[in-house]
């Protein structure tokens, strides 16, 4: 009987809610501005009001639960920022290794927790600074690294046994990881003590950022090499940072960022299992990297949905037994693509809101962009303000006091559910098309992103979407009044000298032998990591090592599709 009465009460309540909602809707419609579209940054419709009707399918323990517990919707640690604040990790690197080392010492002296290395394009593409394709690019969007000599300079005076370092690399990730290991070894720090993260997610390069060397198959093989090596030799190292950041920057919506990134992650997991690794051996060291764009609630919902989707798949699809395998840990960077060259000081404000969404979404580490990044690499002043943005957030706003404070919000929970459902729909579509690698080959993911990017731009061009300082609130005859960092054109020459020096001190026979061994390891389908470490130890250059692997794997050229 009690059961029946409860059912009756529930339906009575639902009826009352429906009636009250209808009354409110009439009143609200009368005063709503109907000429404006109410959509997220991802052009998703948003309702004017969310109520318990939007969250009635939620079972608290099953879908939301407690932080540090499955499905981790509320965060991966039981105490979240009360236990440990997020790691403030500013991505930085420019010019010569010496100049970058100086910036690192400055940032660390100002309270930054961990390092994050930006390399220049020749380094990322496997060209030495003296290669003709490096013309004009040396030291420009990051630091130039040609040999171990350069890595030694970058980390001079920094104890690699104490600091954690993230390195954004991709195609030649295994080479730079090898250099890092050898630099540490020379400092007396063994590989098993190293902490940090390797960004070597190549799939998102084919999808979004477009920096690759080899074709997809061997590229993924090299990644599995680093995952296997890290799993066995570097227990504290995050072997990969599976990245949605660049997918979003290329114009993807929040759901596309989430779906494509997780799909990439599952591809690496499947490849690692194929290699013979046990999922619970390697999964705890996988990490993710997301974007924080301008739509505050949409971003928070994205991070919460990411953790829940991942936990479910790891537990039930990949049959992981260890709770650590179920946890999606991630780094966040605020959206570079949300920043503008007009009134660049406004970028400070944008970045601050974005950073707050990342923290409310439970990020493990954070990079806040500098206000001048639409004009040049960050100046000292802009880099310091970017770091201070995080410090104000952590110390002054109270966001760290309570965990996942937006849980239970009808809007955020409904949006979290919607994200999950749309993400699952993309997974089904990707599976139907034969998986991520096949989707990349046929350009499906790239086209989806390009479409979203154009939709967004058209909204701005038509002023459906207002961007302050760009298509609204424009300053006539604006004079930009912030300091701009200039990279000295002499960097390329200094790097040429550095390569010469490395070549003069090394044993050429050993260089030739280790390179031949590496080629043979590639042909024999062995794990390349130990062979690459042998190469870098001999001051073999980045270009020489990557060329040796090109001899076996070939190079990838993307057809110029629009």
């Amino acid at each position: 009987m009690a059961e029946i009465r409860n059912q009756a009460e529930i339906s009575e309540q639902a009826e009352a809610l429906k009636k009250a909602y209808a009354e409110w809707k009439t009143a609200a419609d009368a005063t709503t501005n109907k000429n404006k579209k109410y959509v997220t940054v991802s052009s998703e419709q948003v309702d004017p009001l969310y109520t318990p009707a939007d969250t009635k399918s939620i079972d608290f323990l099953r879908d939301i639960g407690f932080p540090g517990e499955y499905p981790y919707t509320r965060g991966v640690h039981p105490s979240m920022y009360r236990g440990k604040p997020w790691t403030m990790r500013q991505f930085s690197g420019m010019g010569t290794p010496e100049q970058t080392n100086e910036r690192y010492h400055f940032l660390l002296s100002q309270g930054q927790h961990g390092l994050s290395v930006a390399f220049d394009l020749p380094t990322l593409m496997g060209y030495d600074s003296d290669h003709e394709r490096s013309l004009g690019e040396v030291g420009k969007c990051g630091v130039a690294v040609d040999t171990l000599l350069d890595m030694e300079k970058i980390f001079k005076g920094i104890d690699l046994g104490k600091i954690s370092t993230s390195m954004t690399i991709n195609a030649p990730a295994s080479v730079l990881l090898a250099m890092y290991i050898v630099v540490a070894e020379k400092q007396g720090v063994p590989a098993e003590k190293l902490r940090g993260t390797l960004q070597n997610d190549i799939l998102k390069e084919y999808i979004a950022q477009k920096e690759w060397i080899y074709p997809p198959e061997p590229s993924v093989k090299l990644i599995v090499d680093t995952i296997e090596f890290g799993t066995k030799k570097m227990p504290l190292w995050n072997t990969i940072s599976i990245s949605g950041y660049h997918i979003r920057e290329a114009g993807a919506t929040a759901v596309q960022e989430l779906a494509f990134t997780l799909a990439d992650g599952f591809t690496y997991i499947e490849k690692s299992i194929e290699r013979g690794l046990d999922v619970d051996e390697f999964a705890p060291r996988l990490s993710f990297f997301f974007n924080a764009h301008m739509d505050f609630f949409e971003e928070i919902a994205k991070y919460r949905a990411a953790r829940r989707i991942y936990a479910k798949r790891m537990r039930y699809k990949y049959d992981a037994k260890s709770e650590r395998s179920w946890m999606l840990r991630f780094h966040t960077q605020t959206a570079g693509c949300s920043l503008n060259a007009q009134q660049p000081e406004l970028n400070l404000i944008r970045t601050a809101y974005e950073a707050m969404s990342a923290v409310l979404g439970g990020t493990q580490s954070l990079h806040t962009n500098s206000m001048d990044e639409t004009l040049a690499l960050p100046s000292d002043k802009a880099a310091l303000l970017a770091l201070r943005t995080q410090q104000v957030l952590a110390e002054e706003t109270g966001v760290i006091n309570t965990i996942d404070p937006l849980a239970g919000s009808y809007y955020v929970e409904a949006m979290t559910n919607r994200m999950e459902a749309e993400c699952e729909a993309y997974f089904a579509e990707i599976d139907r098309r034969g998986g991520v690698m096949r989707c990349i080959e046929e350009g499906f993911l790239q086209r989806e992103i390009a479409k979203a990017a154009y939709t967004y731009q058209r909204e701005i061009d038509s002023k459906e979407r207002i961007i302050v300082g760009v298509n609204g609130y424009v300053l006539e005859n604006e004079q930009i009044d912030i300091p701009i960092l200039k990279i000295d054109e002499s960097v390329a020459e200094l790097q040429r000298q550095s390569i010469k020096k490395a070549k003069s001190i090394r044993d050429q026979d050993k260089v030739t032998r280790t390179l031949n061994d590496l080629r043979q390891a590639c042909r024999d389908n062995k794990n390349t990591m130990p062979f690459i470490i042998d190469c870098v130890r001999q001051y073999t250059t980045m270009g020489e090592i990557c060329d040796a692997m090109k001899d076996v794997y070939g190079e990838y050229i993307e057809p110029p599709n629009l």
Binding site: L121, K210, T374, L562
Partner: protein
């Protein structure tokens, strides 16, 4: 020969960030232009070769990696050497005002940073091509 405006779009140097160039390509097509896209990692030689071969009115180059101060002048110089200096050279990327001024002096007609409306770029190209074509008729 068709009156359609013909544009070559190219990604120069090692940079792979192609969101901007794809968006502008779509906007140009919607505006009725003929767009030829070279794809990624083009050297100045490859770009000027393609521009000549396709006989375009304008060449748009996107560089977000910081190599603009080297690559734009190199492309311009080649255009002069190969007698196609009448082609409009324009571009986009991450550059400071000082750099844009300097590249303007070196023969780059127009450079755009983040936040530029595609309508503004389309209008600029229409105007510049009209001027260029009018100039040709005068000769």
């Amino acid at each position: 020969m068709s009156d359609k405006i013909r544009i070559l779009l190219a990604k120069a140097g090692l940079d792979g960030h192609d969101r901007g160039i794809k968006v502008i390509a779509a906007a140009f097509r919607d505006a009725g232009f003929e767009v030829i896209y070279t794809g990624l990692r083009q050297t100045p030689e490859m770009i000027v070769d393609a521009a000549l071969q396709e006989d375009v009115d304008a060449v748009g180059v996107s560089i977000l990696s910081g190599a603009h101060m080297t690559l734009f002048p190199a492309i311009r110089k080649l255009m002069e050497e190969r007698n196609c200096a009448d082609m409009i050279l324009f571009g986009g990327g991450i550059m400071s005002e000082d750099e844009i001024t300097e590249l303007g002096r070196k023969g780059v007609s127009k450079l755009y940073g983040p936040g530029t409306s595609t309508i503004e770029i389309v209008e600029y190209i229409k105007g510049a091509v009209a001027k260029k074509r009018a100039g040709e008729k005068l000769v």
